[in-house]
């Protein structure tokens, strides 16, 4: 297992730059997510690491070693494809055993080579050696597929196929595990189970993992660290909490969780309080900014609906409920304040009243919770 380092990576496809300035430093044993909207270059980044694309410039190091001259079949990166890419003509066992067969092929004499080739074409003709048998069965047990070893992959459900793909990648004991949107073909419930499975396995094996997704919730709930990408560039790298509470751009603030983003102008900055004019409202923030035009970011759960008792907020606004959405343990209100629509999340306590649209409300935000970008 090893660290993965990308330095100044750049990739052009026939003159069009799809990746630039990619710098990543992924630690050994880390679960690292690449998060970004579709088409931002996540897959391309991963394919560069796996060796299926040659970077236009920049270096890739796996386990401290520059892999520029290593072809994809010598990089020892276990990859789980979005489509799983299982071999449809082989059963589950043969699929998982594939890399072990290849390893045996490489160290065999010509006569034994023929035997291994025959086994790969038809495993009924040539038996597997004990070590391979054991290794494959162990990993199948680990992903709970022992009973399906002799089935064709087409006879399995989506979740089972996913686990075969995972087992097939893990059995080769890769330096790094690459997963490209592995959960996107599963239904919602299965997706949640598989998140836990993947995370558990990763923790057990302490395997360096790069996980590509466009689903921020997935990235936030699974990864140790996340790189947010957009248009072929990395915008910010950080832990999930880091990205959530200190987004560097409004794009990230919006992409990672929901945000109220308002355009404003700094009118004064005294003591440790910055006052920003937004429309005909003034908003106070504890953050300092040395530019005049700023974006004000407030997370929906940081806006409090005031009920007359706890009124002492530095920022208060009058508004009218436009829409109330009940989301289980929270209620989300869209509140019209002046020209702006603010999203407000409140915790729902059973028995409490949900405010109706048209109702007037007062909202409060403490200056610590107001971000300026």
């Amino acid at each position: 297992m090893g660290s993965v380092v990308l330095e100044q990576l750049r990739k052009d496809f026939s003159g069009v730059t799809v990746l630039q300035n990619i710098n990543l430093d992924i630690n050994e044993g880390e679960f690292f997510a690449l998060l970004g909207p579709s088409g931002c270059g996540k897959t391309t980044t991963m394919r560069c690491i796996a060796g299926f694309e040659t970077p236009t410039s920049g270096t890739i190091k796996i386990g401290g070693k520059d892999v520029a001259n290593l072809p994809p079949n010598e990089r020892n990166c276990g990859m789980v494809f979005q489509s799983y890419a299982l071999f449809p003509h082989m059963n589950v066992f043969d699929n998982v055993a594939y890399s072990l067969n290849i390893k045996e092929l490489k160290k065999s004499n010509p006569l034994k080579k023929i035997g291994v080739y025959t086994r790969m074409l038809n495993s009924k003709l040539v038996k597997y050696p004990k070590e391979i048998e054991k290794k494959v069965m162990d990993i199948l047990e680990y992903v709970e597929l022992t009973n399906h070893a002799k089935k064709l992959t087409s006879e399995l459900s989506g979740g089972q196929q996913q686990r075969v793909a995972l087992a097939r990648a893990l059995v080769m004991e890769p330096e790094v595990l690459l997963m490209d949107e592995p959960l996107s073909n599963l239904d919602l419930k299965l997706r949640h189970t598989m998140r836990n499975t993947i995370r558990r396995i990763q923790q057990d094996l302490k395997i360096t993992t790069i996980f590509v997704t466009h689903d921020q919730e997935e990235a936030m709930s699974m990864a140790d660290r996340i790189a947010v990408m957009k248009d072929g560039e990395i915008l910010q790298i950080g832990t999930p909490t880091d990205l959530y509470s200190n987004p560097k751009t409004s794009f990230i603030a919006d992409f990672v969780g929901t945000s109220n983003i308002l355009e404003g102008t700094v009118v004064s900055a005294e003591n440790d309080l910055t006052i920003v004019q937004v429309g005909n409202q003034q908003i106070k923030s504890k953050m300092k900014k040395d530019k005049k035009e700023v974006q004000v970011i407030i997370r929906p759960e940081n806006i409090i609906v005031l009920n007359g008792e706890n009124d002492n907020y530095d920022n208060t606004f009058e508004g009218v409920i436009h829409l109330a959405t009940y989301l289980g343990n929270t209620v989300r209100y869209d509140v019209k304040v002046g020209d702006h629509m603010l999203v407000v999340d409140t915790i729902y306590e059973s028995g409490a009243n949900i405010k109706q649209s048209g109702e007037k409300v007062r909202l409060g935000v403490s200056p610590e919770r107001v971000l300026l970008i």
């Binding site: 010598e74 494809f81 071999f87 003509h89 594939y98 390893k103 990648a169």
Partner: protein
């Protein structure tokens, strides 16, 4: 640097070899025949590459190049007449094929006519019979001593109903044996033509037949024209029918070209005819593509609706009778050949005088060699096409090699006789003297049939997603190992179906066999041809039956394979 190095290892080397193959056996021969049309004598391009002396000779040949051959074509001489006759024949055939296909296609696509299933099945019969056998079947039906002539005279007719040895005879054979090529595209056109438009027309009060003429018909016209062009090209390139049936006073370009080269060794004349044939076939191909361009016929606006099949007896019964008649003619022809193969003698009577297995005994003793040759040549072509098709489809699908894609469509356009002449001329002298060998014969068969094989393998290759191959590589396999253990097994059904088709079409192949096969490698088709020329009709019949049975069996296996592999 890495790029250049990779060009000479592994797949890069394979690609070079494939380009080399096409260059040597397709591009250079076509180019060379074009040059010969100017120089009027064979030029030795390969010799010029290795010998200065030869190069000098070739240069002199070019210096003496003239436009005489081109002039002679347009001076309304013999060649011009041949061209005009051929165009006339193809025109007549394509028009008639359209005319007889419209009712049958309509019947199949839009009505519940009686015996629809049977008719649809029997329509494929003409496709398994090589045209030189159909042509010869027409001789023994319509000829002076044929049973049709017998019945015709009994009914009070005089002479022959149709003289098979005439333009009409050739046209009739081609019409009845080529119409299936047009039928299925037309059935498709009738099925997809905009049904909601038709309904709208009917809702506005138009009568059924009026709707057909004003709405349905115009909608299928583009499809029909392009189909007519296909028939035109097939008829123009057909060698089997004219070579058997064309009387000596009827010039047809394919027959002329054959005679120039195999009778008179007139290189210049054969070359100019070849150039003309390729030009016509190329033009027709271009026209057909041009017409289909941007026209995705089969576009149904609004919701696609299920067609309501017509049940009107007054319409379906005549349609069924007409279709039955068209379908039965090729069946009768084949039936006549079968009867003849078992006949002791068969004079001008409705049935043979007696029955015997002697003719089969004869061919399985004295002509066994021909059967063997056919099998060996077909197997050779099969192996070569499998190897080529796998790699070509790999490059076409994975690396989007448009050059290779284009090269494999050239043989579809070039008429067989033209391609044969080009090869004979190019490989006539040292250092690459291959004319008259089995090798060049196998190569010629391969190149001619490769497009069909490639179509089959490209289809299968496309159904194998690229990430499956990448997964194998990611797991440590080299590209070659991935190809052997993953791509190969997945392509197997497609390869099997495609290669049987190659095998079948090589056995049926006429023009290349007759033109290029040396005596010691004479395949069945050449043997049948020679027997017909010598009027040894009984052994020709027996050999034809063996050939058609082989084709039928293999075709059935191929259909089974490609059906099961219906990915």
């Amino acid at each position: 640097m890495r790029k250049i190095k990779s060009l000479f290892t592994g797949l890069g080397l394979v690609k070079l070899l494939i380009y080399g193959f096409f260059l040597l056996f397709l591009i250079i021969p076509l180019l060379s025949v074009f040059l010969v049309a100017f120089t009027n004598e064979p030029i030795n391009l390969f010799g010029s590459l290795i010998s200065l002396e030869q190069l000098q000779t070739t240069m002199n040949q070019f210096k003496n190049a003239t436009l005489d051959n081109f002039k002679s074509i347009f001076s309304y001489g013999h060649y011009f007449e041949g061209l005009i006759n051929s165009l006339k024949l193809s025109f007549i055939v394509s028009i008639w094929v359209l005319v007889i296909c419209i009712p049958i296609a309509f019947g199949i696509a839009r009505t519940n006519m009686p015996f629809k299933k049977t008719i649809s099945a029997l329509v494929t019969v003409p496709l398994v019979i090589p045209t030189f056998i159909s042509a010869y079947a027409f001789i023994i039906m319509f000829g002076r001593a044929g049973w049709v002539t017998y019945i015709y005279e009994k009914l009070g007719g005089e002479g022959m109903l149709i003289d098979p040895y005439s333009m009409t005879g050739i046209a009739i054979v081609q019409i009845f044996f080529f119409f299936p090529y047009a039928l299925w595209p037309m059935v498709a056109a009738f099925k997809v033509s905009d049904i909601s438009l038709e309904e709208a027309s009917r809702n506005m009060g138009a009568k059924g037949w009026l709707t057909f003429i004003t709405v349905t018909f115009p909608l299928v016209i583009p499809g029909m024209l392009s189909t007519a062009l296909v028939i035109f090209a097939v008829s123009f390139s057909d060698f089997g029918t004219p070579i058997i049936l064309a009387p000596s006073d009827l010039n047809l370009i394919v027959v002329d070209a054959y005679r120039e080269i195999s009778g008179f060794f007139n290189w210049g004349g054969a070359a100019i005819l070849t150039v003309i044939m390729i030009a016509v076939a190329g033009f027709v191909y271009w026209l057909q593509n041009y017409m289909l361009k941007g026209r995705d016929y089969g576009v149904v606006s609004g919701k696609p609706k299920q067609v309501k099949l017509i049940d009107h007896k007054a319409l379906t019964i005549p349609l069924s009778i007409f279709s039955g008649f068209v379908v039965i003619v090729p069946l009768l022809a084949m039936g006549t050949v079968i009867l003849q193969s078992f006949a002791t003698t068969w004079g001008k009577d409705p049935l043979p005088n007696g029955y015997t297995l002697d003719h089969y005994r004869t061919i399985f003793t004295s002509s066994l060699g021909n059967i063997q040759n056919s099998l060996i040549l077909a197997a050779g072509a099969l192996i070569l096409s499998v190897v080529l098709a796998i790699f070509v489809s790999y490059f076409v699908v994975r690396y989007r090699s448009t050059t290779l894609d284009f090269m494999t469509t050239i043989p579809l356009i070039v008429p067989g006789i033209a391609f044969g002449i080009a090869l004979i001329q190019t490989f006539n002298t040292a250092p690459l003297q291959l004319t008259g060998t089995a090798i060049i014969l196998i190569i010629a068969y391969t190149i001619r049939r490769l497009p069909y094989m490639v179509r089959s393998t490209v289809g299968t290759m496309k159904s194998i997603k690229q990430d499956i191959e990448e997964a194998a590589v990611n797991l440590g396999a080299s590209t070659l190992t991935a190809a052997i253990t993953v791509i190969g097994p997945l392509m197997l059904p497609g390869i099997a179906a495609g290669s049987i088709l190659v095998f079948v079409t090589v056995i049926k192949e006429t023009s290349i066999s007759i033109l290029m096969a040396p005596a010691e490698w004479a395949p069945m088709s050449l043997a049948i041809f020679q027997n017909v020329l010598r009027a040894e009709y009984y052994s020709a019949a027996a050999m034809s039956v063996v050939l058609v049975v082989m084709v039928l069996v293999l075709q059935a296996i191929a259909n089974r394979l490609s059906g099961r592999n219906g990915l």
